[in-house]
Symmetry: C2
Subunit: 198 residues, 2 copies
DNA sequence: GCTCGATGTTGACAGTGGTAAGATTCACGC
DNA sequence: GCGTGAATCTTACCACTGTCAACATCGAGC
C-alpha cells in the first residue's frame, strides 16, 4: 500500500479543506500556511505550488464561503412568497450563516481580501452572494419610491452585516451565539425598523 | 546634551502613540510590538515592562479610541434638540469616526480584544461609547412601544457598525471613503429605514 | 550613600511568510 | 517501451514576529 505517495493527487482541494477545518476548530487567525500544510501532511513549501501566497489560499477559502452564503440566501428566496417577508428572511439567513460558520465568515471579510479584484473567482462568488440581497431588496422595494435603490441595498446589507459581525464577536450577548438565537435576534432587529409602519 | 537617557520617562504613552501612528500610516495589521518599540526608539523587549503582552498594548490603543468615539457621539448628543434627529446624527458620528480613523477603528474591534473583560479600562471606555448610543435610542424611542429597548439598541448599533465596517473595507464604493461621503451615505441609509413613515 | 525595585538591553527560542535549489514523479512524444 | 521536460514536493535558508531569561543601568527612599 502506497501510504504516502510523493505526489498528493489533489493537494489544492485538500489545503482548502484543511484551512476550513483549522479555522473552525482553532479560529480564523490560526490559519497559517505552514499549519495548513502540516494538517494536509505535506511540507511547508508545498502550498506554494498551488497558491502564490497566503492571501491566495484565504481567497480560495473565502470563495467557497461566499458560494455557500449565496446558496443559503437564494434558498430562502425561492421558498417565500411575500416580497417583504422574503427580504427579511434573506437577511436572517445572512446572519444565521455568519453565526453558523463564524470563522469562515471572518475569513470572507478579512482585510487582506477586502479588495477581491486580484481573485476573479472570489470576486464572482462574492458578487453572487450580494446579488441575492439585491434581488430581495429590489423586489420588496424597501423604503418609499423616493429613495434610490443602491442606498436601500447598502442599508439592508449594513444592518445584517453589522448584526453578523457584532454577534460573532460576542458584542450582543451570548443568547445570540446560537443559530436559533441569532435568527430570533436578527428577526427582531429587522422588525424593529419596520414595526413603526405596520 | 543627554541625547538618549537610559530611562525613557514616559514610555508607556510613547508606545501607545507609536502604535496609533503606525496603524494610521501602515495599517492596523502592521502594528507589531517590535515595530512599535523601534518607532519609540527602545529595544524590542522594553514594551514588556509596560504591557504583559501584545494584546495589552492593542487594548490600550483601543481604549483611547473608544474614548474619542464616546466623545464624538456625546458631542452630537449635546448639540441637537430633536430626539429623532439626535439619534440619527449620533449614528452618523459613529460612522464618520470609523471612516476618519479606520485603522484605529479596526484595532478597537479586532478579535483579540473582542472580550474586553481582562482589560477593565478598555471595558469601561467601550461601555461609555455604547452608552452614548443607548441614551440616544432611549430618548428617541426607536420603533413602536411594543418593541423592547435592547433590541432597538442592537438594531441601531448593527446598522451603523455595519455601515462603518463595510465602508472602511471599501465594500460600499469609493465615494463613501471620505468623511463627507460617509456622512452622506449613512444619513441616506438611516433615512431609508425611516422614509416610509414620513 | 546604599540598596532595591523599576526600567532598559542583549540574546535566545519557536513560529511565521516567502524564496531557492534539489529530488521525485507524471505525462507525453518518439 | 522509453526518455525528457514540466509539475510537484522536499530541504534549507532568510527576515520577521511574540515572548522569555539574564543582565545592565538608573532613580527614590532609608
Amino acid at each position: 500500500m502506497p501510504s504516502k505517495p510523493y505526489h498528493h493527487g489533489d493537494l489544492r482541494r485538500a489545503l482548502i479543506e484543511a484551512a476550513v477545518e483549522i479555522a473552525r476548530e482553532h479560529g480564523a487567525d490560526e490559519v497559517s500556511l505552514r499549519r495548513v500544510a502540516r494538517h494536509a501532511g505535506v511540507s511547508h513549501a508545498a502550498p506554494y505550488h498551488h497558491f502564490p501566497d497566503r492571501t491566495a489560499l484565504i481567497a480560495a477559502v473565502a470563495e467557497v464561503g461566499f458560494r455557500a452564503l449565496a446558496n443559503d440566501v437564494s434558498a430562502v428566496e425561492r421558498s417565500i412568497e411575500s416580497p417583504r417577508e422574503r427580504l427579511h428572511e434573506a437577511g436572517v439567513a445572512y446572519v444565521v450563516f455568519a453565526v453558523s460558520n463564524p470563522e469562515q465568515f471572518r475569513l470572507m471579510f478579512s482585510r487582506e481580501i477586502a479588495d477581491s479584484t486580484p481573485y476573479p473567482d472570489l470576486h464572482a462568488a462574492a458578487a453572487d452572494a450580494r446579488a441575492g440581497l439585491e434581488r430581495a431588496v429590489a423586489a420588496s422595494r424597501l423604503g418609499s419610491g423616493t429613495t434610490s435603490e443602491p442606498i436601500d441595498v447598502a442599508a439592508a446589507w449594513a444592518l445584517v452585516h453589522g448584526l453578523a459581525t457584532l454577534i460573532i464577536d460576542g458584542q450582543l450577548g451570548n443568547e445570540a451565539a446560537s443559530p436559533e438565537g441569532a435568527a430570533a435576534l436578527s428577526r427582531a432587529a429587522i422588525h424593529a425598523f419596520w414595526s413603526q409602519r405596520s
